[in-house]
Amino acid sequence: MNTSINAEQEFDMLLAHVQQLGRDLIRPIAIDVDRDARFPKEAFDAFKSCKLLSVYVPKAMGGMGLSITQVCKLCEILGGYCASTAMIFAMHQIQVACIVHHCEGSDFFQNFLRDLVREQYLLASATTELGVGGDLRSSQCAVQVTGDSFMLEKQAPVISYGAQADFILVTCRKNSDAMPSDQLQVLVDRRAAKLDPISTWDTLGFRGTCSSGFHLQSSGHVQQIQPVPFADILARTMHPVSHLVWGSLWLGLAQDAVAIARGTVRAAARKNPATPPISALRLTEVDEQLYNMRANVQMTLNDYQQKLLTNDSEAFEQFSYALGVNNLKLCSSELLVEIVSKTMMIVGIMGYKNDSPISLGRHLRDAYGAALMVNNDRIRNHNSTMQIMVRDGR
């Protein structure tokens, strides 16, 4: 009993610390990070010094052993200060979860997690491939194994913080004879890889994620190949965790826009106490949508956490489960754009200005990225197929 209270207090202290980092460090540099499309190095130096990159590594391996619910809370808080910083943090945690959940039997990966705790390695991901696009379950490149070593080459048009990461998890075919869907995931050491730039990252939003493209050429030891098929990693971990951490940081971003709007409504009410401002009605509408967005994330999160606790691995394989996770992504990415657009109406010209202290420009530009990172139409297409593969939807 006592220990659980302590764990709770510890987490509350961590949240308070992250809030403080958000106020004092992350928000002040967010404008720079966005304008210059640069990596938020100061934020990640601070994260590393308080071991935030190993929050999801189990305590037995030296990590903080936070639950996915707690990791999502951190993403949500960060999303309120700088969505790029939050996105990098979230994407890193997805990769950590893929190793934590699927590499228990591998001494190499167990040691890697211990090293990650000590060195606070930053992990990136290269699933997208030139000529394949956003179809995660399809690869053209193949890992080539000779004896104890492997070679892997991939044309990756989007690798977030690829140049800053210490390791990159790369999806590929099992061998050069394998079908595109017969995939593995390989942990590539960036120092042992050659990354030749093939595309830039001058985008509308999420500019600080520095997601430019590379021709990646790498080699290493076969132990760096994750010991289970990528299909399993995707179904049980990468797919649900991605949409949960993304949904959480988008929630933080939407919440911040609503908070800015609320500030202007309050100011208007103060100025003219006799009549409530019209914008209060708009605010209440947008708050309803925020409520829905939060409920979406919360419901899917509770469900995932419950399945993890009961070790219900078969449930993750059900088409109805994948459909639900996709619904979370579709709903929250589209609510995000609606919410932020409506807050612009409430805040008015001061939100439209780039150089205003209550500018919503970055919020709006970031918001539009959510539907594209794994294109919503691709997801809807997939969902429409799965609708026929579901009986009761539960």
Partner: protein, 80 residues
């Protein structure tokens, strides 16, 4: 005993790049090119052929991942 019916259904609906009869009972169908769209058609064809309905607990990737698991599932549903 249901394997040959299932092989026939796969031949017709799975749209794999190679002959279904060259696959063993345990070969992974997804690794051999099965797509989610073909999975739907296989499910519908199996439901019709055996006059069964897959419950949600069987509507997962594992069920459709090999001829063996399809045979097991059909057997289980027919014996209910």
């Amino acid at each position: 005993m249901y394997a040959s019916t299932i092989r026939d259904i796969l031949t017709k609906h799975a749209r794999l790049p190679h002959d279904v009869n060259t696959l063993t009972l345990t070969d992974d169908l997804y690794d051999n090119g099965l797509t989610s769209l073909s999975t739907v058609n296989i499910m519908l064809a199996i439901e019709d052929a055996f006059d069964i309905e897959f419950p949600d607990t069987k509507l997962n990737r594992k069920t459709f991942s090999s001829i063996e698991s399809l045979v097991e599932t059909v057997t289980e549903l027919l014996n209910r």
